[in-house]
């Protein structure tokens, strides 16, 4: 892995550790309203300042990060799981099943993702599970497409033929011999997608479709504080920069993983 990849990985671990230990290390209760210290500028007492209700922005950023990161990671695993299984079957079986599945994949890929996610989150009650489902409902398609393409190549390899000649069953070939071959591709794809999903989660939260108040995520914090951008810019800047830095680290990590495994995936 390159230097950029390593730095991003360390940063991500650092951000995740901070967010996950939020209840232990955050200096204030994130939802505690303190009308005596409204919109205090960042300082020693409040590291990231306070918001329009006197809540400590640093504590809220830590707690919000926990939700944002968990949602993005789980959504990635969900999309990857569905996409991996469907891609495996589609590529391995080929024929009419493959054509039908790829038609559905094309269908989903030709939707504007955020609009579709908005549709899903309007049908389901707003909340973090809805965001995950909305992301995965759209996200699995690109995983399925790339994994299917990869299986199409790998399944012609001699070791597959050997496995078949030794009398392995179809399922054994598929899951024991072919699936492990996808691990590098899956890792790279997850890295590349996670950054995007952090942004999607943030956008859906920004639109008010994610976690409901008083719980906050980075996206909903930016949304709630955008009318204070000129009087208390720190309310917007800190959660906003956390979104950007996390997404940037995931993107850089995905890029360097891709280079390391020598995969050609274009975005």
């Amino acid at each position: 892995m390159g230097k950029t990849g390593k730095i991003s990985l360390y940063l991500l671990v650092f951000i995740s550790l901070l967010s996950f230990s939020a209840p232990l290390i955050s200096p204030y209760d994130p939802d505690k309203i303190d009308l005596d210290s409204i919109k205090n500028a960042p300082g020693l007492q409040h590291l990231f300042g306070t918001d329009n209700k006197g809540r400590d922005v640093f504590s809220r950023v830590l707690h919000g990060g926990r939700i944002s990161i968990i949602v993005a990671v789980l959504a990635t695993f969900l999309s990857m799981g569905i996409g991996l299984v469907i891609g495996l079957f589609s590529g391995y079986l080929g024929g009419k099943i493959d054509t039908a599945i790829m038609a559905i994949v094309d269908l989903i890929l030709s939707f504007p993702a955020l609009l579709l996610a908005i549709g899903v989150s309007v049908v389901l009650p707003p909340g973090i599970y809805t965001v995950m489902i909305a992301i995965a409902a759209v996200g699995w398609a690109s995983f399925a497409r790339l994994i299917r393409g990869y299986i199409l190549i790998v399944k012609e390899a001699p070791f597959v033929e050997a496995a078949k000649a030794l009398g392995c069953s179809q399922t054994r070939v598929l899951f024991i011999h072919l699936m492990p071959q996808c691990i590098p591709l899956v890792l790279v794809l997850m890295g590349l997608k996670l950054g995007g999903y952090i942004l999607t989660e943030a956008s859906l939260s920004f639109l008010g479709l994610g976690a409901q108040p008083p719980a906050a995520t980075w996206g909903s914090m930016v949304s709630a504080s955008r009318s204070y951008i000129s009087s208390a810019p720190w309310m917007v800047l800190f959660p906003g920069f956390m979104i950007a830095i996390t997404a940037l680290c995931f993107n850089a990590l995905g890029d360097s993983l891709r280079d390391r495994y020598g995969l050609k995936i274009k975005y």
Binding site: A113, G208, A247
Partner: protein, 310 residues
């Protein structure tokens, strides 16, 4: 070509059925009378009666769905719960604004994206390349709503160069267009760079060099022409990001387009508005994809043969 086009047009049908089923299910799952949820509580009794007849609430679900489609084709998207205005009228009046914004953003993204990608590929491995490459990854990682707020804070609230929000002439258009263009610009710069580098290494470029063709001509005629195909695809695929981004950008800059309309619908839970926006948004998107596909065909004769395997 004709067969391909017809195939593509046929693919539109399941797509639109998919979208309308989602919105139809939505009308069914909403609490209360689905007819009210389509036309609003304040509609005239005759209209309600007419729609109830078209929908055939007592008949089975497929006939109800067909009735719903019939209404949609007539342009009957229902009325907003809050303003009691026809959703379709609002959509039509706001559409030109969104189009202006998207076109502005597209022009910025294409010109700067191609330019930066070209420089970066041409000077690959150098300091300039690294700067441009890291800038483009950063551009991909900043959410549109954050870059929008930062741009607004800096250019209109601090420097007071341009108005922070509103709909109007070019002065109002610049900041939201720049904001909306950023993610697409970054993607384009990246794709242009990787594609050009790939083409630089191809044998025909070496041949052209060996024949003594000038560097300028090789770059612009031989390389660019061959690199254009993936780039055009990305420009087309990215149109979705303009539609996605428009929801956020228009909201931040108070630009009176379909995006802000959608956002307001979501906040007020104004279901006819949300459904109308989703249907119109996806339809526009799909039509644009089709146009890109046709462009693709005329750019590269190879696609005509292998189009199916793409």
């Amino acid at each position: 070509m004709k067969v391909y086009l017809i195939k593509k047009l046929l693919l539109l049908i399941p797509l639109l059925i998919g979208v309308t089923s989602i919105t139809f299910t939505l009308t069914k799952t909403l609490p209360g009378d689905p007819v009210y949820s389509m036309v609003g509580e304040r509609a005239q009794p005759e209209v309600i009666e007419k729609i109830r007849k078209e929908l055939g609430s007592d008949k089975n679900i497929i006939i109800q769905y067909l009735g719903y489609i019939k209404l949609l084709i007539k342009g009957e998207f229902g009325r907003s719960y809050y303003t009691n205005r026809k959703v379709i009228d609002d959509l039509l009046s706001k559409f030109p604004n969104t189009l202006k914004l998207a076109l502005g953003a597209m022009i910025i993204a294409i010109s700067f994206g191609l330019f930066l990608g070209f420089i970066s590929a041409y000077k690959r491995g150098t300091f300039t390349d690294r700067i441009i490459s890291s800038l483009s990854v950063t551009g991909l990682s900043i959410p549109v709503f954050l870059s929008g707020l930062l741009i607004m804070l800096f250019f209109s609230l601090k420097l007071k160069l341009l108005p922070p929000s509103g709909t109007g002439d070019l002065r109002f258009l610049i900041l939201p267009s720049v904001t909306l263009s950023l993610p697409a610009l970054a993607t384009l710069a990246r794709i242009t760079r990787t594609t050009l580098i790939e083409v630089f290494d191809m044998p025909f470029v070496t041949t052209a060099k060996a024949k003594g063709i000038g560097e300028l001509k090789i770059n612009f005629v031989h390389v660019l022409k061959n690199a254009l195909i993936p780039i055009v695809t990305v420009i087309g695929l990215d149109f979705g990001s303009y539609l996605n981004g428009a929801v956020l950008t228009e909201t931040i800059f108070g630009w009176d387009g379909i995006g802000r309309f959608t956002m307001e619908g979501i906040i007020k839970r104004d279901y006819p508005v949300i459904m109308g926006c989703i249907i119109v948004g996806t339809t526009i998107f799909v039509i644009i994809n089709l146009i890109i596909d046709i462009l693709y065909h005329s750019l590269d004769p190879r696609v005509r043969l292998y189009g199916k395997n793409r």
